[in-house]
């Protein structure tokens, strides 16, 4: 595998920061009730989406989850349209109909966040069939977390993807919790990657706080998929830095555990540090980058706030006509 270029590394950092600042903003907006409903921040897990999406092309597909903002951003989503969706505006990705849990975009190959845990996993099989039938070398990356891997659909989908040799890369973001349920209590084996053995497909564990490591393993899996060698299961070990949602104090988990991950496994801190050490980027360049990102996030809020609400009249008309 070719070494990552300086430019790629800088892009990784940029996208990690973009997701982090966007998520922090959405939490603030949630706390002042400008965003409502359910919001599941991706804080702490950014490196997975960044590494995985860097390993595929724009024309490839991703399938996302309720914790999906990071996947969309890493696939190239426009912050303005994302923020507009979170504010329920007509200019949002789903015209304000979907909100946080349903962002999707065909142009981006983003086949949807999902309010149903595990809901996207069977859909990935269909995307895989489509990629295979079309025979243009397209692949699909299906994201889900530990909790979703306990639903029956996980078994059905991985088995089918395996028997039909579909070009799907299953990326399990094991952030150790499904709401309050610890993955140690909910999963019969220690590593979700081990379950790959049941489908006779590769099962790989990777440090989900390291975008380069994720990039490497996903790249390998994508190569197999493009060569017609079928699906892979990648387990990215990660941690949900906050509660399940902004109002969840997460008092069911050990404070020290959370502190440990925030201190040792923060992709923002660690990757900045690494790129500085490798002299890929200077502190001033990071500062400039941060500023640009903060401006972009602020602009997205402005865009969203100035955007119109969806038209009630049009909605009522549409509803009556079906």
């Amino acid at each position: 595998m070719a070494e990552l270029t300086k430019g790629q590394k800088i892009q990784f950092l940029r996208t990690i920061l973009k997701i982090r600042r966007f998520e922090e903003k959405t939490i603030q907006m949630y706390q002042i009730a400008k965003i409502w409903g359910y919001l599941h921040p991706y804080v702490g897990e950014e490196a997975i989406a960044v590494g995985a999406c860097a390993a595929i092309n724009k024309s490839d597909y991703i399938i996302s989850t309720h914790r999906g903002h990071g996947h969309s951003i890493a696939k190239g989503a426009d912050l303005n349209r994302m923020m507009a969706e979170l504010l329920g505006k007509a200019t949002g990705y789903c015209k304000g109909r979907g909100g946080s849990m349903h962002i999707a975009d065909t142009e981006l190959g983003m086949l949807g966040a999902n309010g149903i845990v595990g809901g996207g996993i069977p859909i990935s099989v269909g995307a895989g069939f489509s990629c295979k039938m079309e025979a243009k070398g397209r692949v699909a990356v299906c994201f889900f977390s530990d909790g979703a891997s306990n639903n029956g659909v996980f078994h059905e989908a991985l088995n089918m993807a395996a028997i039909f040799n579909l070009p799907v890369i299953y990326v399990c973001e094991n952030n150790m919790y499904a709401i309050s349920m610890s993955s140690c209590d909910s999963i019969a084996c220690k590593d979700i990657a081990k379950r790959a053995a049941a489908y006779d497909i590769p099962g790989v564990i990777v440090d989900g706080s390291d975008p380069e490591a994720v990039y490497r393993v996903v790249t390998e899996a994508v190569e197999l998929a493009r060569q017609g060698k079928g699906p892979s299961l990648i387990e990215a070990k990660t941690y949900r830095f906050g509660g399940h949602h902004p109002n969840d104090p997460a008092d069911y988990r050990d404070k020290q555990e959370a502190e440990f991950y925030k201190r040792e496994k923060d992709p923002v801190i660690n990757y900045k540090k690494r790129l500085l050490e490798e002299k890929v980027i200077s502190q001033t360049e990071i500062d400039t980058m941060e500023k640009e990102i903060i401006t972009a996030v602020e602009d997205s809020v402005k865009f969203a706030e100035e955007s119109p609400e969806p038209s009630l009249e049009k909605f009522l008309e549409e509803v009556r006509s079906i």
Binding site: W36, G99, M101, H102, G115, A148, G152, A178, D185, S186
Partner: protein
């Protein structure tokens, strides 16, 4: 009388039944330390331990299936599906297994299973977390369907559900968990199939259940100012349905408005309307009017979300139409 929250009433019902019968246990997602998504089970893990408060992985089909398995072998599980929307994942176990097991085995296998869940819109949680799907269960022979509106009702009905030897789908509404209402300290149960007149009136009967009872009561209050007397009829259990009481009410008022948050096509409301129209045709002075949710997945945008479900004004309008 003391007033307690709807969710506290649920907790009391469960505790009383668990204390009364060691065979009762709870199973579902995030019901342990977390106390359930709406905190109705707060503290129960500490009180009853992990063998009677079983916290599960996200495995809806098997939550219900294990409820069935335990029920047919002598236990009384209360299995929770966090949102009614997720019953989709457990539909085989509910419809093909639970609903039929007693009948098709010639009464060999009794299945005293309660499926506790909640539905409804109003929290901005969009299309996959806001549905009103009671008609799915109402339609299937072999399931009882309970939809309590008040703290008093939820307590008495949940106790009955747990004691019932059949499968009960117990549907709460996400907007009413914090509503307070009078609940006696003394023990009581409420029989299934017994409606409650939440407000007496003589000009028109408003049939409403779950959260819609409150909207109907608000409408009735407004209409009273205009000299219109509404009877608010809360069936409390949809299966079995207290048809006798409903016909009695309609025979008194001669007019019926049926309110549901679900969309009208294939709804409980259209079934009620059809039943009353055929069974009390001679008593009706106007066609039955249905006030229902719109034919749409529930949108995230709050203006559209609110437009998708019935409000007081819609009920007021319908009442005036049947009186016109």
């Amino acid at each position: 009388m003391r007033e307690i929250e709807y969710r506290e009433a649920i907790r009391e019902a469960v505790m009383e039944e668990m204390n009364r019968d060691p065979k009762v246990f709870l199973i579902g997602e995030d019901i342990g330390k977390y106390g359930g998504a709406f905190r109705a089970y707060k503290g129960l893990l500490d009180m009853y331990g992990p063998e009677r408060v079983i916290n599960t992985p996200i495995s809806e089909a098997t939550i219900i299936g294990s409820g069935i398995g335990a029920a047919v072998t002598g236990y009384r599980p209360v299995a929770e599906i966090m949102f009614i929307d997720f019953t989709g994942l457990a539909m085989d176990q509910i419809v093909n297994q639970a609903a039929k097991i007693r009948y098709m085995t010639g009464d060999n296998l009794r299945c005293p299973l309660v499926i506790r869940t909640q539905g409804g819109a109003g929290r901005g949680v969009a299309a996959q977390h806001s549905q009103s799907l009671e008609a799915w269960f109402y339609h299937v022979p072999g399931l009882k369907v309970v939809m309590p509106s008040t703290a008093y009702d939820v307590k008495g009905l949940l106790k009955t559900a747990i004691r019932d030897d059949n499968v009960v789908v117990f549907i709460e509404h996400k907007m009413i968990y914090l509503n307070k209402g009078p609940v006696p300290e003394e023990e009581y149960i409420i029989d299934f199939g017994v409606a409650d007149i939440k407000r007496e009136g003589k000009d028109v009967t408003i049939f409403a259940y779950s959260n819609m009872v409150f909207k109907a009561l608000e409408a009735a209050k407004d209409l009273e100012q205009e000299g219109i007397s509404c009877e608010v009829f809360d069936p409390r259990t949809l299966v079995p349905l207290d048809m006798e009481a409903l016909l009695k009410s309609v025979k008194k008022t001669n007019r019926l408005v049926v309110v549901t948050e679900a969309c009208e096509r294939g709804s409980v409301a259209s079934d009620i309307s059809a039943k009353v129209s055929s069974q009390a045709f001679d008593s009706l002075d106007a066609p039955v009017k249905i006030v229902a949710g719109l034919n749409t997945p529930i949108p995230y945008n709050s203006i559209l979300e609110q437009a998708s479900i019935p409000h007081k004004a819609d009920i007021v309008k319908a009442v005036k139409e049947v009186l016109a």
